[in-house]
Subunit: 244 residues, 2 copies
DNA sequence: AAGCAAAGGTCTTCCGCCATACCTTATGGC
DNA sequence: GCCATAAGGTATGGCGGAAGACCTTTGCTT
């Protein structure tokens, strides 16, 4: 083994060998539940899965999950209701709520890393979808998701936007890609929560969405990729501008 | 919340809420160490990081790591040497060794998912690298990695090929992308280990590598993307052909 | 030849998390 | 109006894994 080889290998080990569990099980579970809320998969007022179910899905014990939910309750993010048809419900975000936690999370995000990774996933998903030529039912889901962003009240725009992109990721046909995108998008949403929502950007975004969906449905991979790249570049520029 | 909305959310929760720890810490650590070996980051005869160091990097205790290493020793994959300048060394693969484990791992891989995800990452990395216009030192690393695949003995080709692609991923400037690619590539290598290595494919692969690197160094994003997509499609077709 | 340093090998203590069972509350159906 | 049911709330015992100190081996350095 040459010297260069050894050097390369050493550097790479550092990149590949990552902690097998980021923090303890509790923290990871907390991140996941927060992710579900940040992605808007459970909207304000909606109910999270029952504790037993959720714990099972996350692969943790109910005791640990309840630790997580306790924290979320204390932060005023969710509310537990007892009795049949009870559950854990997502509360409307009380502005300041979680502000500290948010700022802390955002502080140690590598923004360039995130934006690049996100772009790669999104552009790739768009291209795959276009190349597949989405079948009727799937094309319908995409159109539906797009339409929902159009008649969205301002307060729900981010959520429906997220859902549109998530739909595209799903339709790419790679569950791994979907999961990775979900994680990346949750982090992007954290960043977006730190900057103002400008109506002008929103309109621009709408046009790009429309062009993107059309390209995908036309099976025009080139155009789909270009549209998505432009769309991502827009968000990226916005975030870099406000946060850099 | 409309019915459709609820339905979507339910389906998506299943995709996003994944077990917080796939198996126990031991199994995850085993996967990671195997990954390092499968990627060829530590070549045959090479030494893994010291136990204390490795355990620290993986975020597990030394006791647990030693469980992992014990298994690898029993499988004849590594050898422990005591004393100063001792360590855990990777043994030459004794053909049958790990064959069972390999077949088991391969059996429950979603091949389409993996190949799609891999293509997205690779194509994205190539495009990012081309768009960045690699600086001198970084361009040098890429050229170096390419040259190493050219004068590779057949037995070491897979490893150097992996290292070339890994270099490209690194140069994309997104650590997350690098890490994800490493994981995906380790799984791809598992699949490749199940099929014969054809010299004809290898030559073809070489030409594609050369074209790819040239495009990247030229800063021609279009060409880089096209070259990489073709390259991935080649491997994918090969794997689908042999394993489908 | 002595000894120091760096590695693997061993042991003990303690905490976190899991599994399980059971209690309490609220609602809709009979 | 009762009560079955589905949800959250509580308590207990057991085990896996983390932390850290220590022992043993070996080879280079002086």
């Amino acid at each position: 083994m040459s010297r260069t080889d050894a050097h390369d290998a050493h550097d790479r080990l550092a990149q590949v060998l990552r902690p097998v569990r980021a923090g303890n099980g509790f923290e990871e579970a907390l991140e996941q539940v927060l992710q579900v809320m940040r992605l808007g998969l459970v909207p304000t007022g909606g109910r999270l899965p029952a504790e037993r179910d959720l714990a099972h899905r996350l692969g943790i014990s109910r005791v640990t999950l309840r630790e997580v939910l306790k924290v979320l309750q204390e932060q005023g993010l969710v509310e537990a209701r007892r009795g049949r048809y009870g559950g854990t419900f997502v509360l409307p975000r009380a502005e300041a709520a979680g502000g500290d936690a948010l700022r802390r999370r955002v502080a140690d995000v590598d923004i360039e890393d995130l934006l690049r990774f996100r772009e790669v996933l999104e552009v790739g998903a768009a291209e795959l979808c276009a190349a597949h030529r989405l079948s009727g039912e799937r094309a319908g889901r995409l159109r539906e998701a797009l339409a929902r962003t159009h008649d969205a009240p301002l307060a729900d725009y981010r959520r429906r936007d997220t859902l549109l992109h998530l739909t595209l990721a799903e339709l790419s046909g790679s569950p791994t890609l979907t999961a990775q995108y979900a994680g990346a998008r949750a982090r992007v949403n954290d960043l977006l929560d730190c900057i103002p929502l400008l109506v002008r950007n929103l309109e621009h975004s709408q046009r790009q969405h429309t062009a993107l969906v059309e390209a995908v449905l036309d099976g025009d991979a080139e155009a789909a990729r270009a549209a998505m790249r432009e769309h991502c570049a827009g968000t990226a520029a916005l975030l870099r501008g406000f946060l850099a």
